[in-house]
């Protein structure tokens, strides 16, 4: 067996269990470090687990996640904390102490995923995983390929002792409704912040009608709709009436590149919309797709993928900012009113479904744990190479998965270099 370092100074703390955090944790552990991986949700996987496919290969995220989960399961050097949050970090390079609030999950590691609790649970709750488009029981399996392989209980809707049917139903004694949060102190030589992003709130973009018409959705909701594990089992339909979609408008830069919202570009939305367009056409071959954009950001080898999609006769790309999303008073259909920089006039396009390509806002924008610095846009400020708080993935800058996995591996190397450089006892 390869040697595993003792925990403590030779340990690395990774905050965030999405693709960046998982990659950083595994790469560091497989090079011989001890790793603590702390995740806020009851499951690992982060935002990519909620995507239907990746661009440009149109491959499912759970394929790479599956390999990573097996690596995690077989690696005793990584200690995973879910339903946990880092509250503060003190110390300096080579010797940090993180205060972590752990749990409560209310389900212990005796859980076997047998589903008995969900079968008797009387309360439904909106599924955050499906962006509110479906519900699950309050005792639920977070996703179909879960890590850890365990159910969870949503404290927001649980009736606790007033009900406790799940406790009765569980044959393995895996449910403890009186579980308390615990505070643990983790010592690490370096910290990797991999807290990722959340979708920018589309309700703030008032002219784009999100929240005012059920058939105006966001790109992350479209991913759930296109996903086999999602609310429609992968069928692309209108939320209003369940009818198959015959025409879709993708509105790029919805809330990005905009002084009123996110000033930067979220870098992945052009490619994500082209990907989603491919999925729509795959499932609904008779459909028409309209992409309203300002600049199509498909650099380098992504260009070939973009060309394949754009050269499809069913895809129309219009360069111009969208002014309004209206409802036709006669037909009730959605109409996209947009500038057309090439054609010259304003265009009016009636569609069944509007997908707003909303941007990525860094998750730490509201309040990083003490000890982590963020900039004006909410991204974690990367220190110099001698500083021990490193950052990877969308916590650093809005980037794609291909960049994130490089970032995370680089952060793991820098963490190891820091730890090995720092004399023991410093």
């Amino acid at each position: 067996m390869s040697t595993v370092s003792e925990a403590g100074q030779d340990a690395i703390l990774v905050i965030g269990g999405g693709i960046a955090g998982i990659t950083a944790a595994l790469e560091a552990a497989e090079a011989g470090m001890s790793v603590y991986l702390v995740e806020r949700n009851p499951n690992l996987g982060g935002r990519v687990a909620q995507l239907a496919r990746y661009f440009p290969k149109l491959c499912p995220p759970s394929c790479g996640l599956e390999i990573n989960y097996q690596r995690l399961r077989d690696n005793r050097a990584v200690r995973v904390f879910t339903t946990s949050e880092v509250e503060s970090i003190t110390g300096g390079p080579g010797a940090y102490t993180a205060t972590v609030r752990v749990g409560p999950r209310y389900v212990t590691d005796r859980c076997t995923m047998c589903n008995a609790c969900a079968e008797v649970c009387p309360v439904d709750r909106p599924s955050a995983f499906d962006y509110g488009m479906t519900t699950t029981r309050t005792a639920y399996l977070p996703l179909e390929n879960p890590y850890p392989a365990r159910y969870a209980i949503d404290p927001a809707t649980c009736l606790f002792d007033e009900c406790a049917k799940c406790v009765e139903a569980c044959q393995y004694g895996a449910i403890d409704l009186h579980m308390q949060p615990q505070t643990v102190e983790l010592r690490a030589g370096a910290v990797i912040v991999a807290t990722g992003w959340r979708p920018y709130d589309a309700r703030a973009i008032t002219n784009l009608a999100f929240g005012h018409h059920p058939d105006v959705i966001t790109n992350v909701m479209m991913e759930r709709m296109a996903a086999e594990t999602g609310p429609t089992g992968g069928r692309i339909v209108r939320p209003s009436d369940g009818e198959p979609v015959r025409s879709v408008a993708f509105i790029q830069c919805a809330g990005s590149r905009d002084r009123l919202h996110l000033g930067y570009c979220s870098s992945i939305c052009c490619l994500a919309s082209l990907k989603e367009a491919s999925l729509v056409l795959e499932r609904n071959p008779e459909a028409q797709v309209h992409v309203f954009y300002i600049d199509l950001r498909t650099p380098g080898t992504y260009e070939a993928f973009a060309q394949r999609v754009l050269s499809d006769g069913r895809v129309r790309a219009v360069k111009g900012k969208v002014a309004d999303i209206l409802t036709d008073p006669g037909s009730g259909q959605l109409v996209v009113v947009a500038d057309d920089m090439v054609g010259g006039a304003m265009s009016r396009t009636p569609v069944d479904l509007v997908v707003l390509a909303t941007g990525m806002a860094p998750s730490l924008g509201d309040g990083p744990p003490t000890g982590v610095d963020i900039d004006e846009e909410g991204f974690v400020v990367e220190g110099t190479d001698t500083e021990g708080i490193l950052v990877a993935g969308c916590a650093r800058a809005p980037v794609d998965v291909a960049t994130t996995t490089v970032d995370a591996t680089a952060a793991a190397m820098r963490a190891i270099a820091l730890v090995r450089r720092t004399p023991v006892g410093a």
């Binding site: 067996m1 390869s2 693709i19 790469e27 497989e30 090079a31 440009p56 149109l58 499912p60 759970s62 394929c63 790479g64 599956e66 390999i67 690596r71 399961r73 077989d74 690696n75 005793r76 076997t112 995923m113 047998c114 589903n115 399996l141 179909e144 390929n145 392989a149 044959q171 393995y172 086999e228 590149r257 000033g263 930067y264 570009c265 979220s266 870098s267 992945i268 600049d295 950001r297 650099p299 380098g300 080898t301 992504y302 260009e303 070939a304 920089m341 090439v342 010259g344 846009e377 800058a397 809005p398 998965v401 291909a402 996995t405 490089v406 970032d407 591996t409 680089a410 190397m413 820098r414």
Partner: protein
């Protein structure tokens, strides 16, 4: 072959309510080699200790755990060095079949017999432990190579950094300025000497300039590189290699239409850096001051040679060079002609900053022509302006053509920058557009040459900051592969695996097919043209095992004999159309998890299927399928991942090689006068849980329509 086996049949998670566990235990007790049998309501909890106790008390050399999927509870049931074989009675039986029905009982019984038979063919692997070089060879001392060298040295490894130029530093030495990524967005300077110094000053790094690599041979942990330098030829040992050989600009000939290489005042973006470093900006033709500049992004429909190699870096470069001109001369004017401004992410903030400069004009559209101006020199650029809906003519002193970055791995002479002495060839296998990249977003360093990692612009088009991250990351992979090789362990994706292929050389016919089909070039040939394995190159996929026409290749715990033995213990009821038997060979990476998720979703699959997990469909030797069909299986389904350009296979070409395997199978079917449709490849993705029941039912229906295999009972 193991002699003392313990069998543990769990009743939990609905297994006990679905099948008769007591009869399964009885069945197990009667199998050869089984000396202990137990049941429990939950072997994953307190009763897991019983297994460990039995191993000691009964001197067990193998344990069969018939319970949940092998994808869960892996640490609980890890009893190495004792071999553990998992039988999936939960996801693949209790959760996906009708309880208390005869067909389900038969399924469980067969799976248990298959597991016990598999366990008989498992030996603990003996780790191949050799001394490994705790050092890294880095080829190329640009930003990526320097970063890789420094990182590896800080990680405790000795580094030999080889650079063919007389000076380290790479392309940044040519830069006049760098573009900013943070407010206040002033142009910056890259301290190349500082970058070089920090790497070279580390005691662990040895820099060799004016030196190039003439050969790389060996395997992770023990590579040997031959170098040619000022002092002549030398050899260096290394545990891992990082290829950071950088880029060349897209060839000038592709921009002839814009006047590059034709008109003296049309220069490339690289030439522009040279001009700016020289001081005040002057026209190359006559030395007149440059007042007006057009920068062409060359990202339109006629720029197909440039497009795969340009984008994010080149757009930022165009903006930077515009600001360079403006900085030098406040009276200057710069036109940037482009189709889509590629400034993703935070780079957008710099784009906005440049847009606010009154001397920079953005012309959105394609260039129609670049010609010499009339009279006093200068050039005229005619471009379509899609905003104005007409062409514009720009009279300028200088035209800058923004050229893309072609990775050296894409060039015809690519095999010479770092020649590999591998049977499969000298060049590093490449991906899209010739980049030395993996085909996986999730695993950017997993190329086809284990232990050799690409970083910097030879890996992907990227700027200095990103190249430095890439170099650091590649250094980590280099360290990892040496740590793993020191313990005899495999790297991605079967991380930690100890077993590697063994050869029964007496039967080898020296056909060489294994050496050709190994995706990683792990097999070389000796003087008698017999295969020689480089164990540390091996990813343990078993494709060689699948390739061998005489089945001489096996792993200690995974072999053709084992797979055939599993098929042999399935009971094949004769003359019964309702009780047909279909063998399903399911790839562990995609198909097997998908089958698990069928169970997690409580969907149903036909009870006539007998699932055998395989490491990769490429590892399935056609003899396994032929044996099954000759024995009397009514159908065989091979479930594996998508092949083609966007392949999913983590062993590169497993499902693609299936094509060759199937040729052999079809031949056998023909000889036996059996319908070819009895054996089919069903492409399966990991998200197919909801689709699979329908696909498998349809296949079972097809087989039913063909009628029972007449070979049964022979």
């Amino acid at each position: 072959m193991s002699k003392r086996t313990g069998v543990y049949v769990c009743e939990g998670c609905g297994i006990g309510e679905c099948v008769n566990v007591a009869s399964l235990v009885e069945l197990a007790a009667g199998e050869p080699g089984v000396v202990v049998t137990r049941t429990s309501k939950a072997f994953c909890l307190e009763d897991s200790a019983r297994i460990a106790e039995d191993i000691g008390a009964e001197s067990l050399d193998a344990v069969v755990v018939a319970a949940c999927s092998p994808r869960v509870n892996r640490q609980v049931f890890d009893h190495r060095p004792t071999m553990v074989r998992r039988v999936n009675l939960r996801e693949h039986v209790a959760w996906s079949h009708a309880p208390q029905e005869e067909a389900t009982e038969e399924l469980a019984a067969d799976l248990l017999r298959m597991g016990i038979a598999a366990a008989r063919h498992m030996r603990p692997p003996v780790a191949n432990i050799q001394d490994c070089e705790r050092s890294v060879l880095v080829v190329g001392a640009g930003p990526a190579g320097l970063s890789a060298a420094l990182s590896a040295a800080e990680g405790g490894f000795a580094v030999t950094l080889v650079e063919r130029e007389a000076q380290a530093g790479g392309f940044p030495r040519r830069l006049a300025r760098t573009y900013p990524t943070r407010r206040p967005f002033d142009l910056g300077d890259v301290d190349v000497d500082g970058l070089v110094g920090r790497a070279v000053d580390h005691p662990g790094v040895t820099l060799l300039t004016s030196t190039h690599v003439t050969a790389v041979e060996g395997q992770p942990g023990r590579f040997t590189a031959t170098l040619q330098g000022p002092g002549g030829e030398s050899r260096v040992e290394a545990g891992a290699v990082i290829m950071a050989t950088g880029f060349e600009p897209v060839a000038t000939t592709h921009f002839a239409d814009y006047g590059l290489g034709v008109l003296p005042d049309v220069v490339s973006s690289l030439d522009m850096e040279d001009l700016c470093r020289a001081g005040a900006l002057r026209r190359p033709s006559d030395g007149e001051p440059v007042r007006r500049v057009a920068i062409l992004a060359c990202d339109g429909p006629r720029d197909s040679a440039n497009l795969p190699y340009s984008g994010a870096v080149t757009s930022m470069t165009a903006l930077k060079q515009a600001m360079l001109v403006r900085e030098r001369d406040p009276e200057s004017q710069v036109y940037i002609v482009y189709e889509d401004m590629q400034t993703p992410g935070r780079d957008e903030l710099y784009y906005r900053h440049v847009q606010e400069d009154h001397g920079v004009f953005f012309v959105r559209g394609n260039v129609r022509s670049v010609i010499a101006g009339n009279g006093a020199g200068g050039l005229v650029v005619t471009a379509e302006n899609s905003v104005l809906a007409r062409d514009v003519s720009l009279e300028v002193d200088l035209v800058v053509v923004t050229v893309g970055m072609v990775p050296r791995s894409a060039l015809p002479e690519s095999g010479e920058a770092m020649p590999l002495r591998y049977l499969q060839g000298t060049a590093m296998p490449t991906g899209k557009a010739g980049f030395a990249d993996s085909n996986f977003l999730c695993f950017p360093y997993e190329t086809r040459r284990t232990g050799i990692y690409a970083a910097g612009c030879v890996h992907r088009s990227q700027d200095i900051a990103q190249s430095r991250r890439d170099g650091a990351a590649a250094a980590l992979k280099a360290i990892q592969v040496v740590e793993k090789a020191s313990a005899g362990e495999a790297v991605h994706p079967r991380v930690g695996e100890l077993g590697f292929p063994q050869f029964f050389m007496q039967k080898c016919t020296a056909c060489g097919r294994c050496t050709q089909e190994c995706p990683f070039g792990a097999l070389e040939l000796d003087s008698q043209r017999h295969p020689v394995i480089n164990p540390n190159r091996c990813r343990r996929c078993g494709i060689c095992m699948g390739a061998c026409p005489v089945q001489v290749i096996s792993f200690p715990d995974y072999s053709v004999d084992q797979l055939s033995a599993m098929g042999k213990v399935v009971s094949l009821p004769e003359d019964d159309e309702e009780r047909m038997r279909i063998l399903v060979l399911a790839c562990e990476n995609d198909a097997y998890p998908a089958l698990d998720m069928v169970g997690i979703n409580r969907l149903r699959t036909p009870a006539t299927l007998r699932v055998v997990p395989v490491r990769c469909l490429g590892s399935v030797n056609s003899v396994v399928v032929n044996d099954a069909v000759q024995r009397g299986f009514d159908g065989v389904a091979l479930l594996g991942c998508r092949s083609g350009d966007d392949y999913q296979c983590h062993f590169i070409q497993g499902s693609q090689l299936l094509g060759t395997r199937m040729e052999n199978v079809r031949e056998t079917l023909g000889r036996l006068a059996l319908e070819p449709e009895r054996v089919q490849v069903l492409e399966t993705s990991i998200v197919d849980a909801r689709r699979l029941p329908g696909v498998l039912e349809a296949f079972a229906e097809e087989i039913r329509a063909l009628g029972p295999n007449p070979m049964k009972g022979f």
